[in-house]
Symmetry: C2
Subunit: 180 residues, 2 copies
């Protein structure tokens, strides 16, 4: 099953380089961060709470996981770097082998809970679409080797086809995971 393989390959500690492109202002934001992805149990209170909060009934969750990130922004090369950190719980609920929904305790574009739709392309690219209040985010994640994955996002306005910003992250598995 594509989802099982995708989650298994994603687990671990990653060193991420991410570039954000603000299209209207033609500005770049480059951020290095550390990302940890680890499995959590189906009966974990955070999992049960998120399913309840999202009002998903008869959910058959599979392989929930937790993401944690510590980012260091390059916006101000001469000043103190802005450091941001956070974590969220993600719960896949497959509808068939290729697609399903994904619950998130914190969204990508807006800091609210989100219910996304996911689907896999034939080459295993994972595509996640999230409708927020004011915007729609499409993320793509694909593995280019066992230890390198790419992640892109496009954020557009809910009304109309305006593209607000895009981003791209190159993520390398940290093989020093266990000493961190």
């Amino acid at each position: 099953m594509q989802l099982e393989s995708f989650v298994a390959r994603s687990l671990g500690r990653w060193r991420s380089m991410r570039s954000g492109h603000s299209l209207a202002f033609q500005q770049f934001e480059d951020v290095r961060s550390s990302v940890l992805i680890e499995p959590i149990g189906l009966q974990d209170p955070l999992v049960l709470k998120l399913i309840r909060d999202c009002k998903i009934h008869d959910a058959k969750p599979l392989l929930p996981f937790r993401m944690e990130w510590n980012a260091e922004s390059d916006w101000e090369p001469d000043g103190p770097s802005e450091v941001s950190a956070g974590s969220c719980v993600l719960i896949p609920i497959p509808t068939d082998n290729q697609k399903g929904i994904l619950l998130r305790s914190a969204g990508y574009a807006e800091a609210e809970q989100a219910v996304s739709n996911y689907a896999f392309l034939e080459d295993d690219t994972f595509i996640l679409t999230t409708q927020y209040g004011q915007s729609i985010a499409e993320e793509r994640i694909w593995f280019v080797s066992e230890n390198v994955r790419c992640r892109s996002s496009v954020l557009r306005t809910s009304a109309g086809s305006g593209i607000l910003q895009t981003s791209f992250a190159s993520e390398i598995r940290r093989l020093d995971s266990f000493s961190q």
Copy 2:
């Protein structure tokens, strides 16, 4: 046919924001550039020469085009920007509706002629794979709206699975095309 639609949507003048990620050195390179993509004739001398140079026999080329770019690098925010410019001819030679080869008068990763393989995914993402002397490049191009397209690349060593660098470009159609 996916190729015809892809080429038709690509024609025009684009404003590109591109971020390169050097994975080994964890360095970013942000570049703004202007890209022009225009059709050229099947009988254009540049087209005939490239087909001859690539030693492709019985080629059935379709919709050749020309790319021209003017880039301004952000490596040195305080010094004079490094400006690079170039152009190349691209000739698709379909083998079926979804895939084929693409001849390029100048390659992406190395400044040599290149014969790439292309294929479309089911969501119309265009995937281009090029074997160079020392490296293999995989590029992906997908449209997120009529006037915005994304382009990613991953460069890996020919021998082994080492990933050298990645890049991502957000390209916005310039609607002032005709006044340029």
